[in-house]
């Protein structure tokens, strides 16, 4: 929990620097690049997490890895992390950066659960509808779950729109249970 709070602050700092230097797109691309590498390399994650490896060696390694592939601003951000000994938080910081970037671009994640797979046409219609409702760009994450029986469940942030058959049956059950216990 606490690490998330720290990660958010570092991500915010990086975001502010990017805005100031007008390098938003470039730095966002850098974050993407670093993110891919970190996600795919277990060795790199272990290396960053290890307290035994000296600051100097971590720095050199990061420079060798990314020196030519990312902007100097991002590279100095990595240096800062290493200097502050927050490099184990790198994956979380990248994640938080993506969240901030989404907020900035007005993109929201919608997690949609359906009982059956939707056709591309239905997906387009759903996306258009959600974009109109939220007034933002919607990124759809679709998952199929037959246990909801029918309908769909949409979660955006903490808010859930539950139009599944299972939920309605559950509510019907509750209504019957309540009705049955009324005094005659």
């Amino acid at each position: 929990m606490r690490s998330q709070r720290v990660a958010r602050r570092y991500a915010k700092a990086l975001m502010m620097t990017a805005e100031e230097l007008r390098l938003l797109d470039a730095i966002a691309a850098d974050v993407e690049t670093i993110g891919t590498v970190v996600r795919n390399s277990r060795e790199l994650r272990l290396f960053l997490n290890s307290p035994v490896v000296s600051i100097l060696r971590k720095r050199t390694a990061l420079h060798e890895l990314f020196g030519t592939r990312i902007t100097s601003a991002t590279l100095s951000f990595l240096d800062l992390l290493v200097k502050k000994q927050r490099e184990p938080l790198l994956p979380e910081i990248l994640e938080q950066f993506a969240v901030l970037r989404d907020t900035q671009l007005g993109i929201v994640d919608a997690h949609v659960t359906t009982a059956v797979d939707l056709t591309p046409q239905q997906l387009r219609a759903l996306q258009a509808e959600l974009e109109q409702q939220t007034g933002k760009h919607v990124r759809l994450n679709i998952a199929a779950d037959p246990s909801i029986r029918g309908g769909l469940v949409i979660r955006i942030g903490d808010t859930v729109l539950d139009a599944s058959l299972t939920h309605q049956l559950e509510r019907l059950r509750e209504r019957f249970a309540r009705g049955a216990s009324l005094p005659h």
Binding site: R5, D158, V160, L161, D162, H167, Q168, R175, G179, S181
Partner: protein, 518 residues
Amino acid sequence: MAEVRPEEVSAILRKQLAGFEKESDIYDVGTVLQVGDGVARVYGLTKALMSELIEFPHGVFGMVLNLEEDNVGCILFGEASKIREGDTVKRTGRVASLPVGEQMLGRVINALGLPTDGRGPIHSDSYLPIERKALGVIQRQPVKEPLQTGIKAVDGMIPIGRGQRELIIGDRQTGKTAVALDTIINQRYTHTPEAKERGIKPVYCIYVAIGQKSSTVAQVVDKLQEEGAMAYTAVIAATATDPAPMQYIAPYAGATLGEYFRDNGRHALVVYDDLTKQAQAYRQVSLLLRRPPGREAYPGDVFYLHSRLLERASKLNEELGGGSLTAFPIIETQASDVSAYIPTNVISITDGQIYLEPGMFNAGIRPAINVGISVSRVGGSAQIKAMRKVAGRLRLELAQYADLEAFAKFGSDLDKATLQQLRRGSRLTELLKQGQYVPMPVEKQVVSIFSGTSGFLDEIPLEHVQRYEHELLEVMELKHASILKEIAEKRDLSDELTASLKQVLTDFTASFKASVKA
């Protein structure tokens, strides 16, 4: 019994089905991060409100107590063992509330209003929030009607008014609960037609048991049942087995039920037995939610915990119906230490205290009320005039007696006045002794105290004082019922009444003395 016809069932079900159209639901969710010891931390729930009810899986509810930067701290009102990390929880949009109504009388319920006495569900349509703001100055009026406890020492010297908050404080096993129970039992009188004729309004009682043994609560309920007091009493039990959050909210639930009666222009009495345990439960919950500990490891807002509860006791003004809510908080001290944190807090909040002393209890003076340091800040306005007249000197004489008693143990040669004070004091102390579960109607108390303060007892041997009182009241009831009735109805001692009472007492004392000698 008639058979249930299938089409009837179907008809009802179809009626319920009608209007149940395909509709979607919007709610806010969060994810359980941590759970244990009656508290849970939830990620998400970004729009949750303070003290909002949160629905956990398996029908468990929780209440929001902490709103933090990245999570929400909840207390759980149920079995926490079934809830796991990662479970989804829902906002309900409601604050914690209690079903209220007359249906609660005669029942034992938990802090959420669910019955625990195994006598079936309680149907109630009206709900009131458990945490309510106390009324302001405008809605109130001064406390003026007496709330008779039926205990001579209390009604005589520490009168309690309807709408007052009177603390009962003392060590364990000094009879704190007994004082409260006697008061509840004594309210039976207020529900009789006789009382109605005399303009005494009924008092509904709520007994809130916090952190007690379930067996003790069962005993209390049995006793109330036996005395016919359950007809106008509701018991809210958060026993030692219940989770700490339940013990923490139980008194607020009691106050809410009491306020229901008060707001309908009726009178209610609520006993919080005891607030020490509630403070401990709150301390547990607070520490688990990582709130900083203060003195005795209680959180910083433990004063507010009790002040906002007791402030809800009130006497409403006439426009609002003139109802009242009287509170009897109980505090248990350790080794008579009233300067501990919680006792000093509650003493300063309440309108007086009844202090029970283990020394007196062990010396056989029961109820073991230490008159010297027990007070009621409402005073004479909560006494009937007759009682005020006869009991006026009682406190003073007992205080002088307490001073002299210690001193007289050394000296043998005492002057006449001192001896007289000692004699009077010892007899009054004897007179104020009273058995448990035998509250006394106020008119009898007046006669009894009158006999003591007017000196009729001075010549009676100490060991005969209780028999004297007993026989006197018997004679009054059999031969002079009119005097008792007049005191009860007029609530005052006119000069003629005083004269006739004196005459009766003179005659009775003479015959009693003869019986002692014989």
